[in-house]
């Protein structure tokens, strides 16, 4: 599992694995898969909060195909927060959801147009290897979290994003 830091590696192994191979056009099987997605996300979020590493909010519509939320990253004690959204593709879970941060569209080369984050070359092979066991929670942990850790400091240092003055973070709510 090249390409991730030790803490990401140890975190991802603690997210429960999924078993149902079903996408949003698969009716009752999708409902089953959706329940698994929620369970994995709940566990991941509880874990983050317990480890003082809460970093996203997420929820979906009733059919579980559209997900929206927020994610944030703390850099030099300042909290940078972004809207987060993605669709579950019709070919899920064979293909991973493509996570979008629309506010950062056009601000970094590590992003496809439309605001989809550009993942490392290691992500898709690992996702393919672990299909259908990986779900949304794994995609956030292995895809979005490392992306924010790499890109936010760069975006701040190059002046592409500026902190909203009234939002200051302390270590406690980081």
């Amino acid at each position: 599992m090249d390409g991730w830091d030790a803490s990401t590696k140890s975190t991802v192994t603690k997210i429960p694995l999924l078993t149902t191979r079903a996408g949003p056009r698969d009716g009752a099987e999708w409902t089953k898969r959706l329940k698994e997605e929620y369970q994995a996300l709940i566990k991941y979020m509880e874990m983050n909060k317990a480890n003082d590493n809460d970093w996203f909010r997420i929820s979906s519509g009733p059919d579980g195909t559209k997900w929206k939320g927020k994610c944030w990253y703390v850099h030099n004690l300042l909290k940078y927060e972004f809207d987060l959204q993605f669709d579950i593709p019709v070919t899920y879970p064979a293909t991973a959801p493509e996570i979008e941060l629309p506010e950062l569209d056009g601000k970094t080369a590590k992003m496809y147009r439309g605001g989809k984050i550009c993942l490392t070359i290691h992500f898709k092979p690992l996702w393919a290897k672990n299909c259908p066991r990986f779900g949304v929670a794994h995609a956030l942990c292995l895809g979005l979290a490392p992306w924010l850790a790499a890109e936010v400091p760069h975006l701040v240092d190059t002046g592409m994003i500026v902190h909203k003055d009234n939002v200051t973070a302390t270590k406690a709510d980081a």
């Binding site: 191979r21 089953k32 709940i42 979020m45 195909t65 669709d87 493509e98 393919a128």
Partner: protein, 405 residues
């Protein structure tokens, strides 16, 4: 069809006027004379048939836009164009789009240019993403309408789908649609380092589908470890994209008009000028249910196909015997080797038949992604799986509670 007109989303542009006659008359004013010459030269039996064909091009980027222009200039009957992106100045290292089109959707800009080049082509523009649930439904809806815009009740209304997208996710969606429709399609791709590419023919049930085995790509010859990816997503070259578009449309013309050998897989390595070829059979363990269904249907037609192949072999043998008896009477006084010695069937025989998932790929080809593993122990130490029980609404409430904390 007026150029410069801005189309609304999903607008369907249908040529209302009579098409020009496809004449073979050799005059400066005839746009089709050089194409119709293919018929006179005996390359193509019936070139005018090009007008009967509908081709869907998914992805109107560096490859798709050029493929669309080639087919437009060839006088294709109808093109369905799909893309949700807009033209950017960063695309100007590629062919087709022009700086003044920056900001337009790629589909609208393409219709603007293509309708100016050849007003005979019926152009349908779909400005949409195909990977979402709604997008996929619209995609299927458009593919199942005929040239008059009539719904065919779930039957495909196009002759070929060309995938010119730049990512695995969208290719898998095209694969899904074509497997469900039993629609033959061609895949194309250019590597992110811009120095290799490939085209592939996919016939549901008959050849491997895109999900039967991890995607096959051409080795660029560069060591992955030395390839620097810092600060960039992908590189691109107009040359590689133009070459791949050319290979794709050449294969399209051969497939539609029935001449030459239609390649099953043709790779291109720019650094070595190397063109590997291969064929892949469908995987009986494919995870795509529609693929399995198409495989069963194809298997059911085996007796009929065997009979047809036998009849064809018999016909060819008779033809050869006749040709041999004719050439006996001819003096070959100049000792010139006739072109007829190279029948296409010989080329076909030289292509090795390679099973889908096996490791023995032709030199220069490799799998882009690994097969899914039963359980990758090197990655997963925990054996913990989710509990299959639980009520969905209750789980949603639990997540909302965590969100509110």
């Amino acid at each position: 069809m007026a150029g410069g007109e801005h189309l609304e989303k999903d607008d369907v542009k249908v040529a209302g006027k009579e098409k020009r006659v496809m004449s073979s008359e050799v005059v400066d004013s005839n746009p089709y004379s050089r194409l119709m010459a293919l018929k006179r030269m005996g390359i193509v039996d019936n070139y005018e048939r090009i007008r009967d064909f509908s081709v869907a091009i998914v992805g109107v980027g560096g490859v798709g836009s050029v493929a669309a222009e080639m087919l437009t200039r060839c006088g294709i009957g109808r093109l369905l164009l799909y893309d949700y992106d807009t033209v950017e100045l960063a695309n100007m290292n590629r062919l087709f789009f022009q700086p003044h089109q920056a900001g337009m959707t790629k589909t609208d800009a393409a219709v603007q240019t293509l309708s100016g080049i050849n007003p005979d082509v019926i152009l349908e523009s779909y400005t949409q993403n195909i990977t979402t649930v709604e997008g996929f439904d619209k995609f299927m809806g458009s593919l199942t309408r005929n040239i008059k815009g009539e719904s065919l009740n779930g039957k495909s209304g196009v002759d070929l789908v060309l995938s010119c997208v730049d990512n695995y996710e969208a290719r898998m969606v095209v694969n899904q649609a074509c497997n469900e429709l039993g629609q033959t399609w061609m895949e194309s791709g250019v590597s992110e380092d811009a120095v290799s590419g490939h085209i592939q023919l996919l016939i549901p049930g008959e050849t491997a589908c895109f999900a039967c085995a991890p995607p096959l790509v051409v080795a660029s010859g560069i060591d992955e470890k030395t390839l620097k990816r810092e600060g960039v997503c992908a590189a691109s070259l107009p040359t590689t994209m133009g070459i791949v578009a050319g290979l794709l449309v050449q294969n399209t013309l051969k497939y539609l008009l029935g001449f030459g050998v239609v390649s099953k897989y043709l790779g291109y390595s720019a650094l070595k000028d190397f063109f590997p070829t291969m064929e892949m059979k469908p995987n009986p363990q494919c995870t795509n249910n529609s693929c399995l269904q198409r495989q069963r249907e194809y298997e059911a037609t085996k007796p009929a196909r065997d009979a047809a192949a036998k009849a064809e072999a018999k016909r060819l043998a008779a033809e050869e015997a006749e040709a041999a008896s004719v050439s006996l009477h001819e003096e070959n006084e100049w000792n010139i080797c006739l072109l007829d010695d190279e029948e296409p069937k010989d080329v076909r025989e030289r292509i090795p038949d390679i099973p889908s998932s096996s490791g023995n790929l032709p030199q220069g080809l490799f799998r882009e992604l690994p097969d899914s593993e039963v359980l990758d122990k090197s990655v997963i130490s925990s054996e913990s799986f989710v509990d299959p029980e639980g009520d969905l609404e209750d789980l949603q409430r639990q997540l909302e509670a965590l969100n509110a904390l």
